[in-house]
């Protein structure tokens, strides 16, 4: 039943062949075709701008007050591209290979290869738009390394790469708005997809300022609505990030792919108390220079600087000598959890490990001293020079750490702990990025496609922009070419009326519970269940319990929720209530998926499936597939399998030792 529409032919020729043969829409007809884009993050802004440039009539939506504030803005570390500017042996094949391996062989070869192919164009496009990437003294683009790879292919703009890339895409988008090709709806939330004759034909959106519901027609609908990490309540995602757009689509027939695949990022600032509303990432780029350690002694209460080198356990360097501190995220996160669970954690909560820059500072200081010909400068001077170098590289991250914790990371090692960061799962899409609903597409983090069971650092920005700038402009034509005879459907059509009615009734239902408990409390409870039982380590019994607990929580939610204010006004509590209601349903599906997949792979660690050394153990014979879940009514799903075929890469147990 699932047709991934992977083109025939050799892997490295598939995309070129596809582009050479897909249907095209001529410019005069493009003007008659309307496309709805939900989301203005990297995926949505790049898609909306590019489709506008091509001449389609685009409507773009975001729930923030400006498209520039989409969650992509927060990405710190960088974006990968197979440019091989460093001459260190990088190539399209290597990027493809690293991504498939990093994803623990649970992604589609053809998609990943395409991603690697277009990666270089992304950098060119961004440079042309004026994205101020970091440069070397010679004026050429600079690169850094990220986890899970052995080449330097990550482009960056200090610790604000997402911001600079998004501003580039936002500028392109605003240019199309000025030209009248894109109409922008900010502070709007999509609350349903409208389906007519089996095709996505529009949406119901709510104006978040006055609460009014609106109907919008489109010949196609693109969901670029981001990931769902906030199902865990605490995550590094922006507060507003949510699953609602994807979930509504799911309930209208779009299958959900690999919902349980969640990425837990190893380096985040630890939780400081119950008041915590979100967690802050300390970019993976820090692992280029920071060394991770815990004391060798359990429950060691000494200050970090009082613990001598020989009493420190640099456990990543010890366990994984080949990759050291740069192992992939899932591996680094589990290793931190293992040390803390065993009693070696640091800080008041004991749920933290050190990320230490002392050796990097000294190393950089010595390089500076060499440059100046002052090798015998006193150590204090060397340290001062070293700090300057580190400041130039990571200054804004260090400042952020200090603002949050009140500690100076130039002097004392950072305390870090893993936190939910990204969701590899998402709406199932075929090679053309179309979901199982005709004319409904999913791009960026909202789809499941390219990262398998674990995403490599700096690859989400790459994927979002690849989807929006370079993939969808071709693949959507293949669908829209047959739509040129179809006139816009009036929003008076009964499908629109019906969808609007359902949305309205649900909002009224939420408002009318008039219980005692706030949305926030329910969200926290859900997060706790998910983190404890469907988090970094999962087992059969825990998942079964979680499913029961979530169903119970859902009952309580619909009986005891309190939403203050009114429907027809600016009401953030109401917006949040709808989102948490969807998160609760999603949470159940995630647990069901995690229960089904009794192997470990990538970020999904089933305690029952590990090697004697505690590494994740895949079971390719039984689980070499994407699980695509079809919604069948409340708490009911059917699973469809997309078998993964590896024609070029031979899956092996990942080894970073």
């Amino acid at each position: 039943m699932l047709n991934s529409k992977i083109p025939a032919g050799k892997l490295e020729e598939k995309w070129t062949d596809y582009k050479g043969h897909c249907k095209l829409v001529n410019p005069a007809n493009k003007r008659k075709l309307e496309v709805i884009v939900i989301g203005t993050g990297l995926a949505g802004a790049s898609a909306a701008a590019t489709l506008g440039e091509l001449g389609y009539k685009v409507k773009a939506f975001c729930f923030q007050d400006s498209p520039r504030r989409a969650h992509s803005i927060a990405a710190q570390g960088g974006i990968n591209a197979a440019k091989n500017y460093q001459n260190d042996g990088d190539s399209v094949f290597r990027l493809f290979y690293d991504t498939v391996k990093g994803g623990d062989y649970r992604s589609r070869e053809a998609n990943v290869h395409r991603l690697a192919e277009v990666s270089a164009n992304i950098i060119d496009q961004c440079v042309a738009q004026g994205v101020p990437f970091a440069r070397e003294y010679g004026g050429l683009l600079s690169n850094r390394s990220f986890g899970g790879v052995q080449v330097q292919r990550t482009f960056y703009a200090a610790g604000q790469t997402g911001q600079q890339l998004l501003i580039g895409a936002y500028q392109a988008l605003e240019r199309q708005v000025a030209l009248g090709n894109v109409k922008m709806y900010s502070r709007h939330e999509m609350l349903d997809v409208v389906i007519v004759d089996g095709k996505a034909r529009g949406i119901i959106a709510r104006d978040l300022v006055n609460g009014k519901l609106e109907r919008h027609f489109g010949h196609a609908v693109l969901l670029c609505s981001g990931g769902y990490g906030n199902v865990f309540y605490l995550s590094t995602n922006a507060m507003g990030s949510n699953v609602t757009a994807a979930w509504k689509a799911h309930k209208k027939g779009a299958f959900f792919g690999n919902p349980c695949f969640t990425q837990i990022h190893p380096t985040c600032i630890p939780v400081s108390g119950d008041h915590q509303s979100k967690l802050t990432l300390m970019s993976e780029s820090l692992r280029n220079d920071g060394r991770i350690w815990v004391p060798k002694k359990q429950n060691d209460t000494r200050k970090p600087n009082e613990i001598p080198a020989e009493e420190r356990d640099y456990y990543l360097e010890r366990r994984y000598p080949a990759f050291g501190n740069l192992v992939p995220r899932d591996v680094a996160s589990r290793a931190a959890k293992e040390r803390c669970d065993a009693g070696y954690g640091v800080g008041t909560s004991k749920q933290a490990v050190y990320l230490d820059f002392a050796s990097a500072i000294e190393r950089y200081g010595r390089i500076e001293a060499n440059k100046e010909g002052k090798e015998d400068a006193p150590i204090e001077q060397i340290i001062t020079w070293g700090k300057e170098v580190v400041k130039e590289k990571y200054g804004n991250l260090f400042d952020m750490y200090e603002k949050i914790t009140g500690e100076n990371p130039y002097e004392v090692p950072m305390r870090i702990y893993p936190a939910v960061h990204y969701t590899m799962g998402g709406l199932w899409v075929d090679y053309e990025l179309m979901t199982t609903v005709n004319g409904l597409y999913a791009l960026g983090e909202a789809n499941f496609s390219d990262h398998g069971a674990n995403r490599l650092g700096a690859s989400a920005l790459m994927q979002g922009l690849a989807d929006g700038y370079f993939v969808i402009p071709y693949t959507i034509g293949n669908f829209l070419a047959d739509e040129i005879y179809n006139k816009p459907i009036s929003t008076e059509h009964e499908a629109f009326a019906e969808a609007e009615k359902n949305v309205r009734e649900r909002i009224e239902k939420l408002m009318n519970i008039k219980g005692k408990t706030s949305v926030e409390s329910f969200h926290k409870k859900l997060g706790k269940i998910m983190w404890d039982k469907c988090g970094m380590a999962r087992n059969e019994q825990g998942l079964k319990e979680a499913i029961v607990e979530i169903q119970q929580l859902k009952k309580e939610f619909w009986n005891d929720l309190r939403v203050p204010g009114e429907i027809n006004e600016f009401n953030p509590e109401l917006d949040k209530a709808g989102r948490v209601a969807d998160f609760i349903e999603l949470g159940e599906l995630m647990c069901i998926d995690a229960l089904n997949r009794s192997e470990s792979c990538g970020g999904h660690f089933r305690e029952e499936s590990q090697t004697p050394e505690g590494e994740a153990m895949r079971n390719d014979d039984a689980f070499m597939y994407v699980s695509a879940w079809e919604y069948k009514g409340e708490s009911k799903w059917d699973m469809h399998k997309e078998d993964l075929q590896y024609e070029v890469i031979k899956p092996t147990q990942r080894n970073y030792k």
Partner: protein
Amino acid sequence: MEHYNMNLNLKVWRQKNSNTKGEFKMYRVENISSEMSFLEMFDVLNEKLIADGEEPIAFDHDCREGICGACSMYIDGKPHGPWHANTTCQLHMRAFKDGDTIVVEPWRANAFPVIKDLVVDRTAFDRIIQAGGYISVNTGNAVDGNSLPINKDKADASFAAAMCIGCGACVAACKNSSAMLFLSAKVSHLALLPQGEPERHSRVLNMIDQMDKEGFGSCTNTGACEATCPKEISISNIAKLNQEYLCASLTSEK
């Protein structure tokens, strides 16, 4: 870092919507940890208001990492509060002590009408960008990223200007409600790069024209914007903007 708890009085601007008049209301919050962020303190207050059957205070926020530019509170007479180079979401409660009274208002400027409580409409900024804050290059038209080396100092200066998060604190801090710091940051970001060269003149003229239309005031060089900007956007960008403007006006054929 030593932690402590505190009780605080909050004097907060409440306004139902853009058509009604607003007023200050007093609230008390107790047992606030010095480790909380300012917005987490507001979360605590809002939870209490909801429990008491009152309406929570509306405020804009999203990333809570100082990068999206959504948060926008005018705290004790300063946009984003007392810390230097900081956003509201990154302000932490250790900036305050037990017994303090904190006054919180929305950004105030004609071009930023209040939507509700502490939430204002900043879409004027988007329209200024629409007027020319971009480089006209369609997807697919780019040459190789390294075909045009860019002097590192220039690239760094461009980046420093591009750090602007579009929060509007500069406008809120300015007695004339001028948007010059925001606008100059965008103009410098693009003018410092060779890619921005072809549209250099039309860009600055059109953006300034739009800024005037939106009802922002003029710049009298008081420097309050620079002092308050969370990203330390330098006022020298305004000088650069004026230069660009003069140059563009002289050569403009309009």
